[in-house]
Amino acid sequence: MDVSTDLVSHHHAGHHPHQHDSGHDHHELGWWRKYVFSTDHKVIGIQYLITGLIFLLLGFTLMMLMRWQLAFPGRSLPLIGNLLERAVGPGAMPDGRMTPDFYNSLGAMHGTIMIFLGIVPVAFAAFGNFVVPLQIGAPDMTFPKINMASYWAFFVGGIVMLVSFFVPGGAAKGGWTSYTPLSVITDKGGIHHWFFNGQTLWLVGFILLITSSLLGAVNFITTIIQLRAKGLTWMRLPFFVWAQLVTAFLLLLAFPPLEAAIVMQLMDRIGATSFFMPTGLVVNGAAVAISGGGSPILWQHLFWFLGHPEVYVLILPGMGIVAEIIANNTRKPLWGYKSLVFAALVLGFLSFIVWAHHMWLTGMGSVVSAFFQTTTLIISIPSVIILSAFFISLWGGSIRFNTPMLFATAFLPMFGIGGLTGIPLSFNSADLYLHDTYYVIAHFHYIVAPGTIFALFAGIYYWFPKATGRRMNEFWGKVHFWPSLICMNVIFLPMFLQGMLSMHRRWYDGGQGWNIANEKVWGLSGFQWNVPISAAAWVMGLAQIPFIINFFWSIKRGEKVNDNPWQATTLEWAAPSPPPHGNFAVTPVAHRGPYEYSLPGRERDFTMQNEPIRDSDREAYAAAAAAHH
């Protein structure tokens, strides 16, 4: 069966990506301009993807090292311990044993890298760049040069973060949250350079990352508003585009206050000001020579003003990806499209006014806490709506379990577990007990690791054919999926138990020295659970090898497929694979909503957005409208 549709221009199959007849710039770009300093949204998207994946792997590697220390505190790391000592300096790994400072560096950098250099670049920038213009039928982003600047700001920011591992004293140690005054007083004096020290580089790198995100956000929003194809009205946008739009707004409006805070922290560190430093500090038995008068809580407000919207930045693109894949592989429209869109908008809006739920224990009074508890609970409703709509979408489908779909289906219960465990945290009084324990760690990892990361995997398997014209290997995809699913749960489920024991996070000794962590639950003591958890983390590391090989192998050797191998409906599948510079040979026009699968009266079980309306469609739509009354 020929799956390419009427409107996919057949003569473009196997078309060379950089020759096309609609453009004006016939001159060939040099290699540098084409692949490195490119302004083409697809190239930039792929640059973001590869860089982001490498950072993701790096963040995971840091965590695998930490997991050794957590499972076997103080034991020297076999094989690579001595290597590491040479790489990062003896201060960090004497005899291959991790020091507390190095552990804290790894923890802070794991959080920072995963969130700001891994997930955001991949979920937002990479998928957004590659897919959004194609899905809305646009030739490129509105501001291609700014797009390129955004990538390079990110790249340099990432390098700055990485370099900080190798400066005297090592990388930032204050946690990804960088709470003041700790982060102002660390990495100072002695061997530390006044500028090239971990925490200062963290701040500088962050400014670059924020710049990158802001440029990206402006570009995405303008593109989605301005470059939608003819007929692609707001309610015909794929849910993925909506998710990216809301995400872009979150980045646009939530990041700047953190940028302000970062400038202030830089001033505190370099200019010895006291924005976040209260009067009367005594460090190491000596009064600190500063004016004082600042407020540590101010930092937390500004940090979490970004921090909470940021967590939705981590999840919304994932939800968007999952929505596309579920619709495609159930072969039926998403259930409740309108409520999904509405829920995403509400989620975005509310995420700006819940931030203080990370600050329950900073001494807030009953009024403020009542306000934030209420908003926090209200914000769980749109998530419930979105997840319910996904679940219900499965009903009545004809579900194909290919690799993208496996990852997308697994996303649902994993996000469910993570989201549900947010509920006890949102009650101030319950969080009193759970705050900063492994329960919190488990809560958010269920959302970002088997949640978002699985969504990213799903998206990679799904759009790979569009980017390369080839499909990734299904068998190895499944070999990647099942161990990953099992390991994720072995890693994070026991953390709920540890958290309920009140085992606290950021403990270098993994709780070994604490009585509470040595209480037994389910046969093992809280501390002993670290061993299976770590083992699962390392096995999961191994389970990524098939993916990495499959990914690179398939670029050149994967099975060749046509322009629409998944028989999907949205506009990106109407472009050639890979799409040439300028994307579409014929500017597409949308005639219908995004998910017209199994439309009655059609011979095929999918009807693309750019297929003109037929009489039979009108009947089907009328019947559907009638059924809803």
Binding site: G74, P278, L377, I392, Y433, R506, Q512
Partner: protein, 309 residues
């Protein structure tokens, strides 16, 4: 008792038993929300598995364009909202309101100042006169870790201890937390009490211990390289034992007196038992730059483990 089946879930998850008067309320809200989660999880999971099996391609080759037509999900979402609202308005908000607004009368309460520092807790008690002596940061030294003013009359009989706090059972305790350097978190898991100790602020928390014993005081906020070992001890004494302790302390009182605490009272199993020294590898060199973060002389060396008996 209605509590029994509810409490089951916290126990199942391994939460250590509560030892304070208000703690059961906190456990309750935790139980409610965990049951709520469990019900939703089981319900949705059952639906999920059924759907995946029933509507797989092999079993259902042709999809239905419309899917679910009933409005069941709306009812479900409404139920979720309702339960959350009840938990919030009925329990969580009033509970926090009571907790932070209705501090026990200070005449029957015991008031303690807990001052965090990298990486230990200083406790300051007023002594028999019930008056706290003046503290001044310019007087802080290794032997006077809180900067207690020797000239202050009220301070003459004050008790300053490091790491270990004794309180009597069944009396409300108000702990006024603060910090000398960075943010710590004064957490008493068994008492279901916790509060950030923030430099420049004094924030109180209260609880009434109802069981004697020795409980760990956790520092729940990353505060530097010794964070993991920043452990205190709360010893809940019988009134007699408490008086004896007080007496002994008052005799030693003054600023210089505080001896190093013992970390674990006798009869308590050492944590981690079998494995070599809890954290620091034996013979590991000191880490970091000493001029940067040397621990004050009266707190454990940064990379030393919490002391074992």
């Amino acid at each position: 008792m209605i509590n029994q089946p509810l409490a089951l879930i916290n126990e199942l998850f391994g939460q250590p038993p509560n030892a304070s008067e208000h703690g059961f309320q906190i456990d309750h809200i935790l139980e409610f929300s965990q049951w709520f989660m469990a019900v939703l999880f089981v319900g949705w999971s059952a639906f999920f598995i059924y759907v995946l099996v029933r509507f797989r391609k092999g079993r259902n080759p042709v999809a239905d364009h419309e899917g679910v037509k009933s409005g069941i999900s709306t009812h479900l979402e409404f139920a979720v909202v309702l339960i959350e609202a009840v938990l919030l308005i009925g329990f969580a908000i009033p509970l926090w309101g009571r907790y932070v607004n209705e501090f026990p009368e200070s005449k029957d309460a015991i008031i303690v100042h807990a001052v965090g520092q990298q990486f230990n807790w200083n406790f300051h008690m007023p002594g028999p006169d019930g008056q706290f002596g003046k503290r001044d940061i310019s007087l802080v030294s290794n032997s006077n870790s809180l900067g207690l003013d020797p000239a202050s009359e009220a301070g003459k009989d004050d008790i300053v201890v490091l790491g270990e706090l004794h309180v009597p059972v069944n009396r409300p305790i108000i702990v006024e937390t603060s910090s000398k350097d960075v943010i710590h978190n004064f957490a008493l898991p068994h008492m279901r009490a916790a509060q950030d100790a923030i430099p420049g602020q004094i924030i109180p928390l209260w609880f009434t211990p109802i069981k004697t014993g020795s409980y760990e005081i956790v520092c729940g906020q990353l505060c530097g390289l010794g964070h993991y070992g920043m452990k205190g001890n709360l010893v809940v004494d019988t009134p007699e034992e408490y008086q004896a302790w007080l007496k002994e302390r008052v005799e030693l009182s003054g600023t210089q007196a505080a001896p190093a605490p013992t970390d674990r009272p006798e009869g308590e199993p050492p944590g981690g038992g079998n494995i070599q020294g809890s954290v620091a590898p034996p013979g590991a060199p000191k880490t970091g730059d000493p001029s940067n973060n040397p621990a004050p002389a009266n707190s454990p060396a940064p990379d030393a483990p919490p002391q074992h008996p």
